[in-house]
Symmetry: C2
Amino acid sequence: MTAATPVTEGIVRKEAPKHAELEGFGVRDNCLTVGGVPVTRLADRVGQTPFFAYDRRLMTARVESLRKALPKDVHLHYAMKANPMPAVVQHMARIVDGLDVASAGEMQVALDTGIDPLTISFAGPGKTPQELSCAVAAGIVINMESPYEMEVIARIAEKQGLRPHVAIRVNPDFELKTSGMKMGGGPKQFGVDAEQVPAMLKRLGELDLAFHGFHIFSGSQNLREEALEEAQEKTINLAIELARHAPTPPRMVNIGGGFGIPYFPGDKRLDIERVGANLERLMPRARQELEGAEIVVELGRYLVGEAGVYVARVVDRKESRGQVFLITDGGLHHQLSASGNFGQVIRKNYPVAIANKMDLPAVEEANIVGCLCTPLDRLGDKVPLPRGEVGDLVVVFQSGAYGRSSSPTAFLGHPEPAEILV
Amino acid sequence: MTAATPVTEGIVRKEAPKHAELEGFGVRDNCLTVGGVPVTRLADRVGQTPFFAYDRRLMTARVESLRKALPKDVHLHYAMKANPMPAVVQHMARIVDGLDVASAGEMQVALDTGIDPLTISFAGPGKTPQELSCAVAAGIVINMESPYEMEVIARIAEKQGLRPHVAIRVNPDFELKTSGMKMGGGPKQFGVDAEQVPAMLKRLGELDLAFHGFHIFSGSQNLREEALEEAQEKTINLAIELARHAPTPPRMVNIGGGFGIPYFPGDKRLDIERVGANLERLMPRARQELEGAEIVVELGRYLVGEAGVYVARVVDRKESRGQVFLITDGGLHHQLSASGNFGQVIRKNYPVAIANKMDLPAVEEANIVGCLCTPLDRLGDKVPLPRGEVGDLVVVFQSGAYGRSSSPTAFLGHPEPAEILV
């Protein structure tokens, strides 16, 4: 199935880049299915639009394909900031080896899954004393972002009579090239500059803290295998180098992730076998030089991003000066990234479709917009589609990550979107 | 007081554009005050950071200065989407002539103020049947966005046994030039193309609806007087032209607003006297040709945007490869626009300061960032500031509009910001 459905000659230029093939969702009786259930039926089940629907089988399939591609002894963590819906986190906790949280709020959801606290790690540049106190009491691993934070943790630990497991988040001396978001290299608010880490490790040895390892994260949403391969190699080399300064051998080295998913026309799906093979090549040295350390790959978007859709209903159809507008009850207040307003410089379309007209050919180009009183509220610009009518269900694909939780749901006072895991 | 405090020679290039002078907030004993109360004391009163603090006296002063500048018989409406905090809406309802709402949720807050429902108008391109039903029952004015919506309203009205007041939102055949956001001109999801309005008015006359007038809105956040003047003239001319086709004379013509406020270095404050004088010049014709119609100016951001600050506490100070980072407990999840990620193409700094060090000279350039694990989370890039330390309170000015309500507060699971009206 392709999101850009075949179009009649002349409506779309033939050379226009296309969205990558979407995998996993089925079509039955002209209707898109999620978890095997038609989206029209899901809308009835939810009792409202708009909503997000996530497919647990696709999440499981993604984890399984990753396990096959990655070296057997690499641990897989889920960064729950990508999709913090409690049911999703519960599901992921059963199929991955650990969870990564970005706040005390996320930590509570992670702890509710019942997984071993030592497989939960907490990273974030501005942890408050209150949050650190929660984390110490919970017994999770704290990825420390600065020497100052380490001192705060040591004081809290003394007060609570606990010896917390701490890792150092390293701002590497390289960056993940051509990454959607650079998280390392150069001056950064994240982690401790690599060159400052030896001194911090020395001080760590003087404190009553259990050294757990390193978190080295150089970027995210990358679709270029060679950039990921280069970053993986540099990351492992840096961990080996830094481990020489550690008070005790690291028990964990989190090498980040950064695996991207295709969002826009022209984006090519990542060759995960190739990335896995590269890691396999690096592992013998890692096993030897970082003996006893778990090598962790941390992924958020890559695990859940393609497993979800956003569904909104068409509430008006308008033709304005030669253009068709399908006006939905959804919008950027639920799916900010798809509107092109969250960090993107140039707006491009996410893959979209009319869920209840999947087998119909495209006959027109339509703009899909939301219900907000702002011109920013666009979900699709000039998309080739079957004729859309009031009552139709528009789906935005690639909405399983950074959808609801990263959108301004209170904007203009509209109802919150529902979320279901099917 | 300037947000860009004087800096020592060499730190900032002399030719760099500056933020406009900020008006209204005072400084006492080295500390910024809001509503006459030091921000440090407000932080204690709120009991948490981050928070938004709005100054009711500044809102009142802004309305008074507008009343002075605008023709006496022009009505002033508050578009509550700019800041929907209930206490703010209650305050504004007492000092303006009407409220504009963008959803049924906002409508409920507006009705709670007790103002006459016929001074509340509801615009929005994707109103659901459910929302329209609420609006009809409430007896407010509905700004209709399409012929289809009009038919839905007529059916609801018949069912409820009511005769709702309806206005037509017009997509004009011109746009507000150099506007921050274009809301009219060309093909748009908003309103009814001007050239389609006569036919819609004819149909309106056949339905059991009370014709209320027109809503003609061409753009927002404009700082160029000549562009606003041109749009005002064209808007009034268009209303006069369209009124000729109306079944009954319009009782209201909402000419929009679009008055901008200075956010970025180099932005010049709007000359409101000049804009008011232009409207005075246009009013004699409007009074004659649109006799009996209230001319309404609808403003959101302009009324409240400069009356609020966002306050976050520094929780870490970090030096990374030659740059200073002040890491706060706030961020883009509360103040998305200030981070440069909401519709902006190029990130520029909002005016910022350290609230408890207002009288100290700038001695360094610092990056002010939030607590989120994303490089998008920046509140200030290389801002000349006094030396910032853990515990200091950072303020982001111009945060009275489109702050909390247009930000993804659930992102990464951090606590919601508080809001106070002082």
